[in-house]
């Protein structure tokens, strides 16, 4: 189980990542926590909520909070466009929607290929990434730490 203490994810040989873009950054999430990817963007704003909360949506009768990942991580806020999708993930027994700018493919990567996040990702942003992967297509894929992105404490109450 514990071949590398820094990256416990490297234990199993291959993991599948659901990949998407946040602005120009190519990111991936462990597919096991992804429930579905949603095209329906009927989001109801929640006034006075933290700025990274876009609003709430109806997921088959369940109220799901939609979070603007870009904003939470510290990028520019996402702009909802035709390509925008909401990735529904499971976090702490709750479904939460993550807004992404564009979804791409599902990649299978070897855990051995996961490298530390580049040191020039600033400390604050760095905590949102578990590491990076150099893909076969010669792209850099950032492995997101969903729980870090979904912590509630961070954010400005208006």
């Amino acid at each position: 189980m514990e071949t590398d203490k820094q990256h416990p994810d490297r234990g199993s040989d291959f993991i599948q990542l659901s990949c998407f873009y946040l602005q120009d950054t190519f990111c991936g999430l462990d597919i096991n926590i992804v429930q579905e990817i949603n095209e329906d963007l009927q989001i109801t704003k929640v006034p006075l909520s933290q700025d990274y909360v876009i609003g709430i949506m109806n997921l088959r009768g369940q109220i799901v909070t939609v979070v603007d990942q870009s904003r939470k991580i510290g990028f520019e806020p996402s702009v909802i466009s035709e390509d925008s999708r909401v990735i529904i993930v499971n976090s702490q027994n709750e479904h939460i929607g993550l807004l992404v700018d564009r979804v791409t493919e599902v990649l299978t990567i070897s855990t051995k290929d996961i490298a530390d996040a580049p040191s020039n990702i600033e400390g604050a942003q760095g905590k949102f990434f578990k590491g990076v992967v150099h893909t076969a297509k010669n792209e850099i894929l950032a492995l997101l730490d969903v729980e870090a992105v979904l912590t509630e404490d961070h954010g400005n109450d208006k």
Binding site: Q42, T44, K45, V46, P47, L48, S49, Q50, D51, V53, I56, M57, N58, G61, Q62, I63, V64, T65, V67, E76, P77, S78, V79, I80, Q92, E94, H95, I96, L150, E152, K158
Partner: protein, 1050 residues
């Protein structure tokens, strides 16, 4: 061993144990009451509860729980056998032990680490004391019971062992294999324990972990033996078949081996087994029971941690099978209806589709109802803990009281039941602590010495009512009102217009707790407001009905369920929001034409004038910081901000500017223009929640719908402005507003608005009643010269044109009510600016020394309420008593008496002749013609004294009834009339009057009551007390007439 099995079992055990504990209190209390004639069934019931808890605890290795339950069991057994008579002490000890047992169960995993010695000692003490001398030792003496073929040995007290053998019972050791006998056969250990308990008594049981081995072991043993030390009357040849055990797993323990006492000579059948004697000749003192756990496998603690996390998360509910069956039926119907629908859609037959739709509608609502039923729990669940609470309190407080319960079967939603516990406890404790008097006090009042508290639940018009009655001392409305005033929660003037019931209900204002001393039992400085807030959260309403010395009824109205509520839908900035119907008072649409009349601006705040009440207005859009939709008078268009824009604006980089611009334009709109923005109808929802009542201005009002409340996710559920969200028919999501949360969120502004609005409302009502000592009529004299007179001095206000003024005989007069009214300008006396020269003027009419006079003034007129901090020096001059600051303007206070004195000194010298009161009369003061004025408010006292003195009478003053009696006592020779206020601290006017009437020396005195509002009730009450006449406080004319009349009669 698999941790999962243990977790499940542990949870089952905890749940079951808690169920056992539920009724214990009630049962024990009943046992206590029955005393000697204790009902055996009842004892058995409690005994069984303790017993099952013990059994399971042994199985799960919860040694502390087992030990404690066991000791309780011992006591109960003694009671059952008539060896002990349950008295209060015994029941107390047992109750406490059960309480602690409950506590241990709440955290069963850590229970072994808790200290139970205190309870054990007490219980053991009780057991010992009830035994005959010779047997006393047996309680503490431990013996080991073991068997050659059994790898474990049991350690128990001699006393227990003896009990196990009583009545010719046999003692066995059974060996069950939890894996082979249980799991593989689909049984749970509890099934087994139940079976065993039905057939006899489990003295002890041990699950042998050693047999399982460690994970590190090469081979994992497929056995998990559990050894049970069992006492039963079943014969050895039957035991095997009863419990499904092969004979090799049954070991009979012969009677003589462990018994030290020759008397215990049971006729035992012989046994081939050889018994090892653990404590060979003497009952050695064994280590205390908890240490028995020592030989258990060491990895235990780690395992427990994992159990803990699982245990704390589960939340289960018992549902009757009938309801589940019903649910199943409904689900079946739903499937049928769906099939019908799908079929009819494919054929396209509209009629059948419609029919299917109807059917689905019907089934859905039935389904919904049934599901609701599964959540319904009887209120008895929470009621049942109160007998104990009341009993304990009675004991602690030295009071004598009993609690009656009614309607325990009334059902409420689980969530409501759960949240109801705390507020109800608070209320019941309040009743017991503050309501019910001490037996002595009750006797004195002629009441039954035993106080009675009734807690009952009932259905009423679709709601559940819970009432707490007590026949205690009741609440004193005056005291509460006084306290509310002294704490600055309401103004004295507000109090005057309040009914007794309203005053009593003031107790629910935050920051008002009437407990004069904080007792240990209740009233830890937290007041009824906490109760109210808690109940508000449940959508409940509280009402208090109280009669002094008769008792108090607290009535709580609760909705049946919280999951589905009726809501009013509104929209603001194109988003829909739901407002719970319970919070909605009324809906008001102010037509554009009436906006100016009905909506007032107070500073920055807007208030709605609704039937004389001022209601602060809050724009939903502003509170939520939405871009409001507004009418732009410049473009003449109705600008609506679309949601996309909003989203865009939040995201685009250059939007900052756009939104800035928008704000600027908003700000550029002057007040006047903003008023224009009301050019369309204003829709207001008047909402009320707790202490908050306000009007919510929304863009649109929609329907009232039944909605299903859905919780918000963890990022949002901390916002108090939302109660949750709901999904609308079209699939969109709407937020549900929390009305009190919303008010709190807008705290700074709205609370200020509320206060301001209250002040204004107070000023308005006072203006009507003319009662305020702080209400001023403001007017202008010079263009920027602000003047004010106390409003109660003003007789009338007339609007005139400057051309109406006639100059007759060197005096200015106007025609007024068929006569001439002399009018004066302020500048004639005081050194002020000349009256502004303008067309429309105002004449303020006063009566001074019996003369009607008019003072010329310049509009606008205004009525304000202000603290009269009058600077009596800086601007003091004839006709002006000083200055004060009102609304940031220096305002001259006009002294009308002084003003007229300057102009017409003769009125004040020969003075009162015109009123029919001769100068001599006033000079004969000392001859029973002085007036005693009793009034608690200083300012008001001064004013009335002024009136009376102007009429030539000498005035004695007193602040309340008590002081008045003192003054009367000293000066009775001079006093000819008592003029008294009714509402006063310490002793009110009614009381004062009846005392006067009862006192021979004073009884001849006429009493004239001053009142702000002479209600029928007050008048009758006053007449009964002996009040001769009523006058409205500042109706000067009539007041003076009344005084004349009385003094002359007198």
């Amino acid at each position: 061993m698999s941790g999962v099995i243990e977790d499940e079992i542990l949870q089952m055990y905890i749940q079951e144990s808690k169920e056992h504990l539920e009724d214990i209190e009630t049962d024990l209390l009943e046992i206590e009451q029955q005393g000697e004639n204790v009902d055996e069934d009842l004892i058995n019931k409690v005994f069984r509860a303790a017993h099952s808890i013990k059994g399971g605890a042994g199985f799960l290795d919860l040694t502390n729980i087992k030990e404690l339950a066991h000791k309780i069991e011992n006591i109960l057994d003694l009671v059952r056998n008539g060896q002990m008579i349950p008295n209060q002490d015994i029941v107390n000890t047992v109750l406490e032990a059960f309480d602690y047992l409950g506590e241990l169960l709440n955290n069963a995993v850590d229970s072994n680490a808790k200290d139970i010695s205190e309870h054990i000692e007490k219980l053991t003490g009780l057991t010992v004391s009830s035994l005959p001398e010779a047997e006393k030792e047996s309680v503490s003496n431990l013996v080991d019971v073991s068997h050659k073929k059994v790898p474990v040995s049991f350690s128990l007290t001699e006393f227990d062992l003896k009990n196990g053998r009583q009545g010719g019972k046999l003692i066995y050791i059974f060996e069950f294999d939890l894996i082979k006998d249980m799991e593989r056969q689909g049984k749970t250990p509890f099934d087994l324990l139940k079976l065993l308990e039905d057939g006899g008594n489990i003295l002890d049981l041990i699950v042998s972990m050693e047999a399982v081995g460690d994970l590190d072991d090469e081979e994992i043993s497929p056995r998990l033996p559990m050894y049970v030390l069992y006492s039963t009357i079943i014969e050895p040849d039957l035991v095997g078949s009863v419990f499904g055990l092969s004979d090799t797993c049954i070991y009979l323990i012969p009677a003589d081996h462990e018994s030290m006492e020759s008397s215990e000579d049971h006729a035992e059948e012989e046994t081939s087994e050889v018994i090892e004697e653990a404590s060979p000749s003497l009952p050695a003192k064994m280590p205390p029971p908890p240490e028995k756990a020592a030989p258990k496998p060491s990895p235990r603690p780690d395992k427990k941690k994992t159990i803990k996390s699982v245990v704390s998360q589960t939340d289960t509910l018992r549902v009757s099978v009938g309801v589940l069956d019903q649910l199943m039926n409904r689900a079946g119907e739903l499937v049928l209806a769906r099939n019908q629908l799908i079929q009819s859609i494919s054929t396209g037959d509209k009629q059948i589709i419609a029919a299917a739709g109807q059917r689905i509608d019907l089934v859905t609502s039935e389904l919904q109802e049934t599901i609701m039923q599964t959540r319904m729990q009887p209120v008895g669940n929470i009621f049942n803990k109160f007998p104990r609470i009341v009993r304990d309190m009675a004991k602690n407080l030295g009071k004598d009281m009993e609690l009656e319960l009614e309607g325990q079967g009334v059902e409420l939603d689980k969530t409501i039941i759960e949240s109801l516990g705390d507020p109800l406890t608070h209320l019941v404790r309040n009743s017991a602590d503050h309501g019910i008097e001490s037996p002595a006090a009750r006797k004195e009042k002629g009441k039954n010495q035993t106080g009675r508290i009734l807690l009952r639940a009932l259905h009423e018009s679709g709601q559940v009512i819970i009432e707490i009655h007590d026949d205690g001392k009741g609440l004193d409305p005056e005291k509460i009102a006084e306290k509310a005033v002294s704490k600055g929660l309401i103004s004295e003037d507000e109090v005057k217009t309040m009914s007794a019931k309203e005053k009593v209900n003031l107790i629910m204002l935050p920051g008002l707790s009437t407990a004069e001393q904080v007792t240990d039992v209740s009233g830890r400085g937290v007041g009824m407001d906490v109760v109210k807030t808690n109940l508000d959260k449940l959508g409940g309403q509280v009402e208090i009905i109280s009669q002094l010395d008769k008792g108090t009824v607290i009535r709580i109205k609760l909705p049946l369920t919280l999951a589905i509520i009726a809501c009013l839908l509104v929209s603001s900035a194109n988003e829909r929001y739901a407002i719970p119907q319970v919070n909605v008072g009324e809906l008001i649409q102010v037509p554009a034409a009436e906006v100016r009349e009905k909506i007032e601006k107070v500073g920055d705040a807007e208030v709605l004038i609704l039937r004389g009440e001022l209601i602060p207005l809050m724009q939903l859009g502003n509170v939520l910081q939405l871009q409001n939709t507004f009418y732009n008078p410049r473009t003449g268009t109705y600008e609506v901000d679309r949601r996309h824009q909003l989203v865009d604006e939040r995201i685009l980089t250059d939007t900052e500017k756009t939104s800035d611009k928008r704000e600027n334009t908003d700000e550029e709109l002057t007040t006047a223009e903003r008023r224009e923005s009301y050019a369309s109808d204003v829709k207001i929802v008047v909402v009320q929640a707790g202490i908050h009542k306000y009007g919510l201005v929304v863009d649109k009002l929609h329907d009232t719908v039944e909605i299903v409340v859905k919780p918000l996710g963890r990022h949002l559920n901390k916002f108090e402005i939302y109660a949750g969200a709901t999904i609308m028919g079209d699939g969109h999501v709407a937020l549900i507003l929390d009305i009190s949360g919303l008010a709190r969120a807008a705290n700074l502004r709205t609370m200020a608005e509320t206060d301001r609005a209250k002040q204004i409302a107070a000023a308005e009502t006072q203006a009507k009643e003319g009662t305020s000592r702080q209400t001023l009529l403001m007017f202008h004299n010079g263009p920027d010269e602000y003047c004010a007179v106390p409003l109660h001095m003003v007789l009338r206000v007339e609007q005139i044109k400057s051309s109406d003024i006639e100059f007759k005989g060197g005096k200015k007069v106007i025609q007024y009510r068929g006569g001439s009214l002399p009018i004066y300008a302020l500048e004639e006396v005081a050194n002020v600016e000349a009256l502004e020269d303008r067309e429309d003027l105002i004449v303020i009419v006063f009566i001074v020394a019996g003369h009607e006079v008019g003072l010329l003034a310049v509009p606008p007129l205004d009525v304000v309420e202000a603290d009269l901090k009058i600077d009596e020096e800086t601007l003091r001059q004839p006709g002006i008593s000083g200055s004060t600051i009102i609304r940031d303007e220096t305002t001259l206070m006009i002294d009308v008496f002084d003003f007229m004195k300057e102009l017409n000194p003769q009125w004040f010298e020969s003075g009162t002749e015109e009123n029919g009161l001769s100068a001599e009369t006033s000079k004969t003061a000392g001859n029973c013609s002085d007036v005693l004025l009793v009034e608690d408010s200083q300012f008001f006292r001064d004013q009335v004294r002024n009136f009376i003195e102007t009429e030539g009478y000498a005035v004695f003053e007193a602040e309340d009834g008590i002081e008045a009696l003192q003054v009367l006592d000293e000066h009775i020779a001079r006093i000819g009339l008592v003029v008294t206020d009714l509402e006063m601290p310490n002793m009110d006017g009614f009381e004062l009057t009846s005392r006067i009437r009862k006192n021979e020396r004073f009884t001849h005195l006429p009493v004239l009551a001053l009142t702000s509002l002479a209600g029928e009730e007050d008048v009758t009450r006053g007449r009964e007390a002996g009040i001769d006449d009523y006058q409205i406080k500042l109706d000067k004319e009539n007041l003076i007439k009344g005084i004349h009349k009385m003094l002359h009669q007198g």
